[in-house]
Symmetry: C2
Subunit: 579 residues, 2 copies
């Protein structure tokens, strides 16, 4: 079944059996994180022999997913472990090369699914660099000492300020189209046109010129901010970084917290973390992700929160959820639907939210909220059907209520007439257990803390038709809402009687796994993001969709296609018909 | 070369050799246009034996491109031939069926390029229905008497008001995903989420439910505006149409003008119209489209304009340009680049613009401007490289200056030092001719009359980086700008000396035809539309890109895919890996 190029995934290097998103600076092979006072430098020095998969070398600071996992990790550590940092320099340790971009042999041999997921993750990492600037007060500078080609230049585009050495050789370029017959897949076109606002005809010329643009023309065309003579380059970069640090609004803060390794236990059909578990039902192509509420009330003070560090429940949960989603994306391609469940006390979840609200100016509380924002966006952008089951004993409240709102559908168990008559409102009547009836609760966090890629909160997006519905929901903050009320307010898709519950859920999951995975990807990518578009949503929805299409076309990936022929000395042969 | 499904285009029916976009009511096979006072009805009554291509029948009011060409023609005639119409009813002549949507057998057997171009054209037609309401005061109603499935419901979504007969059977549906493993390709998802603002979880349920939604639930879910009992349906539709007509701002106008047949002469390597010519350079995969300026000054009065009717130069040119672009899109798939040229007097072009400006409240002047807006959008959305050559004797002024601004690049001939020294500014020195030197001129029309799909004018979009550049350009209205000045103002990409001209243009065209057509499509779709997004731009850029991807995937079009297996009694078999 399926297309030939999809038939086998390339083996991971060193006999690994899954892509792992957890790492730490001591294990980095490709980056060095150097912090000097309020300025940090991320130095790219890719180890060409340390590729993630077998079959290619990472020459000239080219990268694969493994390189980007380290970058993403380093950015997280900057946020949490180095709260004193106020400016970031991205630079290369290789002479005359900043980065050659995504490794071409890796791309040429990757499955379609890996190419798409790889681009999505690298996009998320680059958006994280912009979030660092916009919301955490860490302005970033790219110090381009030589060639910044393709993904190398796209990485620079994610920083606030691009400095290019003016030596008659160093150039920025997006040579994907002329060289490989694909697009710059990591936001390059969108950032050129929408962030740097390069005039469209110049952008056209730039993106079709293999060798790129150098020096003064690069400045004139707005491709870089400054071209500096080689002899003055390092000094100029350092001075600019100092200037950015001085103007940063990030509070000079106390010591950070350590992002200690996640405690995970992998089994053949799942992963268990402290506050998250993933159970795979392979027969139904379902992954159940259960989020566990806090075991204790929130700490009494911000000092106590800092002392808890990575064990502080909201941070622990965000890290685990993020890792779980990435694990499913990359390692469990066959999962059709993610079923979210939760267990715990909704009031405790809301209490943590109130703690974070009350301390929103504290650097750690702020970074945790920003992490949740990014983790929830990762959920939104996950190409699987998302469904939340709201059952007795669950705790979809406040921050966790964003999960049903991020889902394509939610089902909420409504006590049946018989059980509510007999049980007096306690328990659902299912299995005679004593769990409290299914409830959902809203908090302040549902009304601004977690915008989606399109700039709207999930509830704003949900209630586009009638903003009064948003006001009605807002008026219910703090209340436990039962299924009838939640449905009336439009917060859940279906309130289902316990008599019908099992059948309805089963039929939905069976149906979902019977549909074409591709069509579902397209459907969900369109229906999840009503309303306005932002640069970020354009990158994921417009640019990525075109790139996915091109990644599937024989002109790129066919026997005679450009990706396959690159480096063979033979020119690609194209089907010339325009589509 | 190329993918198998691309290898042969399906033959046109009746031995035709090209898709023809010209028709007229007397030749319609599928629609009837009935005008009664200020209310028009477009009655869909598809002749199942009159398909455009061989190999399928158009059952149950399903449609192919031929059906949509008639619809597009009828909408144009409503604008120009029936200025008294103020409301439009779309209805079906078939019992219990409104429309079954795009014909599935047609889709299953169509080449990828045809599917994509077909969806683009039908999208443009539906956007035209919305433009009719927004800018021409013709509100539209869909009277759904039975099944409105897929493209049938998408057609209804383009109207202002959807009325559904409430008989327990009539339903609206978007069954593409469950039935065919593709998306609704004519704006359906975007209009459901962004126009009708259907809650996303309900939209998910709706789009995955083959049988669709009926009656009161369809109203509650905002899928239709009104569900009316069968016995009262016709009466209710008529009353609603009368009400819309009464509230329309369209001036009750004088008799319309006749859109008489275009005079065209087809040759093996081109088409000649009165004011437009298309010359194909097959060796270089180029189509040169030359626009000819007016032969006479504008008429003295609006009455004289009406008397000229379809011969009035701006209208004649718009019709011919529109037809030429569609001809290239569908019949000349191998063309890589469209080269725009013009010949004529720029001052005369500006004089016509001033005439239209001065009479902008006249219904015909207004409709001509709106036609130009749509024709220019058609150019923007044409998936070929677009380049304008601004040479001596050309007339890219005012409305026609939108052509270089719509192009991916423009080249403008600058008099060389030697020729300007000897010729005193007259002539370019090329070939010793006496044409006036290349000039471009702006008019009022470049600053608002012709917004792109993203809602910006082409100059706004061009000068996003610095709005002061827009002001500088505006200050030059009416002036003839030579190459140096035009380049200084940022209005052209490259000003090229006559010594280098031939080489530069040749190299550009060679380069363009050497690139992957698919990658160019993606590049241009991204770089042409910087800035904000609208529902329209989302339909073309987000929804269409995903659909194009899905149209290429084995799960839809492979041997075991859903499109291929539909109607065979055999279920599709999917590669279940999510991408």
């Amino acid at each position: 079944m399926g297309d030939a190029e999809h038939a086998e995934e390339r083996p991971l290097a060193n006999g690994k059996t899954r892509v792992d998103f957890q790492t730490e600076p001591a294990r980095y092979r490709h980056w060095r994180l150097a912090v000097d006072g309020d300025v940090a430098a991320l130095v790219m020095d890719v180890d060409e022999k340390a590729a993630l998969f077998e079959g290619y070398d990472l020459k000239l600071n080219s990268y694969d997913l493994g390189v980007d996992i380290e970058l993403a990790d380093a950015l997280q550590r900057l946020r949490f472990e180095y709260p004193q940092v106020r400016a970031l320099i991205l630079r290369s340790a290789k002479p005359r090369v900043f980065s050659a971009g995504a490794n071409i042999r890796m791309l040429a041999g990757a499955s379609h699914a890996h190419k798409v997921n790889f681009c999505k993750f690298t996009n998320e990492t680059r958006n994280g660099i912009e979030d660092l600037s916009e919301n955490s007060g860490i302005k970033s500078i790219s110090a381009i000492n030589g060639t910044a080609a393709g993904g190398g230049y796209e990485l620079a585009l994610a920083t606030d300020y691009i400095m290019l050495v003016d030596d008659g050789a160093a150039a920025v370029s997006l040579p994907e189209l002329p060289l490989l017959a694909v697009l710059p897949g990591t936001g390059g076109l969108t950032r050129v046109s929408d962030k740097r606002k390069v005039r469209r005809d110049r952008a056209d010329a730039f993106c079709t010129t293999e060798e790129g643009v150098k020096g003064k023309r690069a400045v004139e065309w707005r491709l870089v901010d400054e071209a500096v003579a080689g002899s003055k380059f390092d000094e100029a970069v350092a001075a600019r970084a100092k200037e950015f640090a001085a103007n940063s609004a990030r509070a000079a803060a106390a010591p950070g917290i350590e992002l200690k390794p996640l405690s995970r236990s992998f089994a053949p059909d799942g992963v268990d973390y402290g506050s998250v578990s993933v159970e795979l039902q392979r027969a139904t192509r379902t992954a159940t992700v259960t989020l566990r509420g806090p075991a204790a009330p929130p700490p009494a003070s911000t000092a106590a929160m800092v002392a808890l560090g990575a064990d502080f429940w909201p941070l622990a949960l965000a890290r685990e959820l993020d890792d779980a989603i990435l694990h499913i994306r990359f390692n469990e391609l066959d999962v059709a639907a993610i079923v979210f469940k939760s267990s715990g006390d909704p009031d405790q979840v809301l209490a943590y939210d109130r703690f974070l609200d009350a301390n929103q100016d504290h650097w750690l509380a702020r970074e945790i909220r920003l992490f949740w924002k990014r983790a929830l966006k990762r959920v939104d952008l996950t190409s699987r059907s998302l469904v939340t089951l709201i059952e007795p004993g669950s705790c979809f409240a406040g921050t966790l209520a964003e999960i049903p709102f991020a889902s394509d559908r939610s089902y909420m168990l409504a006590p049946s007439l018989s059980s509510s008559a007999s049980g007096g409102g306690l328990g659902s009547g299912r299995d005679g257990d004593n769990k409290p009836p299914a409830a959902i609760a809203l908090g302040e966090a549902n009304f601004g803390a977690y915008p989606m890629a399109n700039g709207l909160t999930r509830l704003q997006c949900r209630f586009l038709a009638n903003p009064a519905d948003l006001d009605a929901a807002k008026a219910e903050r703090g209340n436990r809402l039962d299924a009838a009320r939640a449905q009336q307010l439009g917060l859940v898709t279906f309130a289902v009687d316990d008599i019908d519950w099992d059948d309805e859920v089963r039929v939905f999951l069976e149906e979902r796994s019977s549909f074409s995975p591709d069509a579902l990807t397209g459907l969900e990518a369109n229906l999840r993001f009503a309303g306005p578009e932002t640069m970020e949503s354009k990158i994921f929805a417009r640019l990525s969709a075109w790139q996915n299409w091109i990644f599937q076309r024989p002109n790129a990936i066919g026997e005679h296609g450009a990706l396959k022929r690159y480096g063979t000395g033979r020119k690609p042969v194209f089907d010339t018909r325009r589509v």
